[in-house]
């Protein structure tokens, strides 16, 4: 026992004092895409053609729900029009709100008063991976570590839909998982929330249009929160959940 205490002292206190302290993201982190239309001579379409998922369309419009944040558009542009900021707060309540022009994404509104009364101080989630590659899953799971300490916000992942207030879905929803997802959703007592996490769950991600997938969660269950990214940074996920609950 004494050994454990000794090691524990050496490991030190590692929980980030979030939200009082802003998260530190690496210099090369690709957050919110930003474009400078003034620099764009137009007509070349190199960026649009480089995008693997059709997230970037004419007029420098980004669909964050499809975006893999791969940076191919930035690379393709000879004029340096496109960049990625370190803005990690990108979740949205409506799918359409993820389609941005001139980096105009607004921080999301929280739930209505009654929903906040029910979920605001205690939210139990069941996670369903439906074709996810284990990156979104891993960076959701990491919220349970002492760095993020999800529990201190009253949010917890539970082992049964019966104990849950909602689902956090990852993956493009493979046809082979759609029934299991529907059944899990049905097993959660109402009122319930659904959070679609990652490009796959929002839009199908790299698998958009495959006959084997359903292009995200919204085709199967109603979604209350969309969190973009491939995978979203843990801070993006935490920020989205906490803003939904009106905790930020």
């Amino acid at each position: 026992m004494i050994k454990e205490l000794f090691v524990s002292l050496k490991q030190g206190h590692r929980t980030v004092d979030y939200p009082r302290t802003a998260p530190v993201l690496p210099d090369r982190f690709r957050g919110m895409p930003v474009a400078d239309p003034a620099k764009c001579p137009g007509g070349c379409r190199l960026c649009v053609e480089s995008c693997p998922t059709g997230a970037l369309t004419e007029g420098l419009t980004f669909d964050l729900g499809r975006c893999l944040f791969c940076g191919k558009c930035r690379q393709s542009c000879p004029q340096g029009v496109i960049g990625f900021s370190r803005e990690y707060r990108m979740a949205a309540r409506q799918r359409n709100d993820l389609i941005i022009k001139n980096s105009s994404l607004k921080l999301i509104e929280s739930l209505d008063k009654e929903s906040k009364r029910i979920f605001g101080r205690s939210l139990k989630l069941r996670q369903v991976s439906a074709g996810g590659c284990n990156a979104c899953e891993a960076d959701t799971n990491v919220l349970n570590t002492l760095v993020y300490d999800l529990g201190k916000f009253g949010v917890q992942f539970v082992a049964s839909p019966r104990h849950a207030d909602g689902l956090l879905i990852t993956g493009p929803v493979s046809r082979n998982m759609s029934l299991a997802l529907e059944k899990t959703y049905a097993a959660v007592p109402a009122p319930k929330l659904v959070i679609a996490t990652g490009a796959c769950a929002v839009s199908g991600g790299p698998y958009i249009g495959h006959p084997e997938v359903l292009n995200g969660a919204a085709g199967v269950v109603p979604v209350d929160l969309f969190i973009p990214g491939c995978p979203p940074h843990p801070w993006t996920i935490l920020d989205g959940i906490l803003r939904l609950l009106g905790r930020l």
């Binding site: 090369r28 074709g131 760095v147 992942f157 046809r175 082979n176 790299p206 698998y207």
Partner: protein, 519 residues
């Protein structure tokens, strides 16, 4: 009887399709069974339409005649000699199964049956592995995956006190879906059957006709926790097909990223193993430390999983002196803390009591099933592609192979700990001598009518990619074998005669990929 010769090649080498011996199915079978008896191992065994993988000068007539045929390709590895061998046969409807004489082939042959409706005659267990409609019926491809998932003929024990325990597809934690059937007598598991396919996204059919702008993203998300491993395997395929020389600097950065991926996952696994036996100090420390290693990858390329780093021709991000110093510093600190956290495990009798003699698999089972990665090395089998079939930077810098002999959960944990130490040594030494030069080279057009094999030792074990190009150098077929494809059956065997309550522990000691298997 003299067996037909294989075409031999090195890892990351391209051969012309014409040069691959095309033999009768009976000879194909005899040659593979013989080679495996002599110590070779099946890396890949798969079907591709013979029509599309035929020769450049094929006439329309032979094309039509062959259109119903499927060409089976086998890629074997002779680990001791460091060479690969390939052979092919054309089959129609059925062929004599290899599995009765060569258990390593069992999962591959189930896949062949499911993908192409070619029956391996005499296979004992021809059940679906992914539950999708046969590619042979691709005419109505709009509903390729309309085989009802999970409805199959599960293995059953009979007896008054025998009961089934069914778990999944949705699991209790934040993990991927899969279905497990335990045949139990009381607490004891006689047999575990693993039924997957829930994560099937149709990756392989989507790769046909590539490479295109989505190809790399499929590779990065085949198994998201192995982004660097699969992206590197794919990059090697394209580099050998195009004859691209990648700079030593880029190879070294890839190697560093691959080992960082191993570190993050191994450290995370040791923490999760500790959690599964209720030993919270290590669980809690390692959970945080895993993130520190992921953040080092993010320092390198902006993504914790290495998305966007590896690309055919090199790497997209370079290291400057400040970054090298920062990485050196971070890895030293994180390793010191990891050592302190992990060494608690080996000092705790309550942990060792749960780890030791739990979920044992024998070295014979490893050889029979062709298991790979830490699961094989935990049974004293020296099998590590970084050493046996080196590619990339590992052709120049060898990492000692870490083995242990007991084949139990302890061995699988301890092999990880040894590999953590070796990977840290590798990264530190490579950062100190990072070669000068460019980080990315231009890629030419891939060679037409060729087959390329690329093998990379990911953190779970051997990743094997095989590409076959058409007359224009596009992918006629692209085969992916994640290490999990070899190892799921190992987990099933490890559970025999165990308490069902030890399943989470055994499962975590393998930590296999569902999406890497389901594709």
């Amino acid at each position: 009887m003299s067996l037909p010769p294989f075409k031999t090649l090195r890892n990351c080498q391209t051969v012309e399709l014409e040069s691959i011996p095309l033999v009768a199915a009976a000879d194909f079978r005899a040659a593979i069974v013989g080679a495996v008896e002599d110590g070779s191992r099946i890396c890949a065994l798969f079907g591709a339409p013979a029509r599309r993988s035929g020769l450049a000068l094929e006439t329309a007539l032979t094309e039509a005649a062959e259109s119903a045929a499927i060409r089976l390709f086998a890629v074997l590895a002779d680990d001791h000699r460091g060479i690969l061998s390939v052979m092919a046969t054309d089959v129609r409807d059925a062929y004599p199964a290899l599995t009765p004489d060569c258990p390593q082939a069992h999962w591959f042959e189930r896949e062949i049956y499911e993908q192409w409706a070619i029956k391996p005659e005499g296979h004992p267990w021809l059940k679906p592995i992914r539950f999708h409609e046969s590619y042979a019926k691709k005419a109505d491809s709009s509903r390729r995956s309309c085989v009802p998932i999970g409805i199959t003929d599960f293995f059953r024990l009979e007896g008054a006190e025998i009961h089934d325990v069914a778990v999944g597809p949705v699991h209790a934690g934040i993990i991927e879906p899969g279905h497990f059937r335990f045949e139990c007598h009381g607490e004891n598991v006689y047999h575990l059957e693993i039924s997957l396919g829930y994560q099937h996204r149709g990756v392989e059919p989507a790769l046909v006709g590539g490479p295109d702008r989505r190809t790399l993203h499929y590779m990065e998300t085949l198994a998201g926790d192995t982004t660097i491993g699969h992206a590197t395997a794919y990059a090697h395929v394209l580099e050998t097909l195009t004859g691209t020389a990648v700079s030593p600097r880029a190879l070294t950065i890839r190697g560093i990223a691959l080992e960082l991926e191993r570190l993050a996952n191994h450290v995370g696994d040791l923490g999760a193993l500790a959690a599964d036996v209720g030993y919270l100090p290590t669980a809690s420390f390692c959970g945080r430390l895993r993130g520190d290693f992921l953040n080092m990858t993010a320092l390198l390329c902006g993504s914790r999983f290495g998305r966007g780093l590896v690309t055919p021709g090199g790497v997209e991000f370079d290291l400057d002196n400040n970054l090298i110093a920062e990485l050196q510093n971070r890895i030293s600190v994180a390793f010191k803390e990891t050592a302190a956290a992990v060494n608690l495990l080996w000092d705790s009798p309550s942990v060792l009591a749960r780890f030791e003699n739990t979920g044992i698999i024998s070295a014979d089972a490893v050889e029979d099933l062709g298991l790979v990665g830490p699961a094989a090395r935990a049974c004293d089998v020296v099998r590590d592609a970084r050493y046996d079939l080196p590619s990339g930077i590992f052709r120049f810098v060898q990492i000692p192979v870490s083995t242990w002999s007991t084949g139990d959960v302890f061995a699988r944990a301890y092999v990880r700990w040894m590999e953590i130490q070796r990977s840290v040594d590798f990264i530190k030494s490579q950062l100190a001598v990072l070669p000068e030069g460019q980080t990315i080279a231009d890629i030419a057009a891939p060679a037409p009518n060729s087959l390329a094999v690329s093998i990379v030792e990911g953190w779970r074990g051997e990743i094997c990619h095989v590409a076959i190009t058409d007359g224009d150098g596009r992918f006629r077929h692209y085969k992916i074998i994640d290490p999990s494809f070899h190892n799921w059956m190992g987990l099933a065997l490890a559970l025999r005669n165990q308490q069902i309550s030890d399943f989470p522990l055994c499962n975590k000691s393998f930590n296999l990929s569902y999406c890497g298997h389901d594709l």
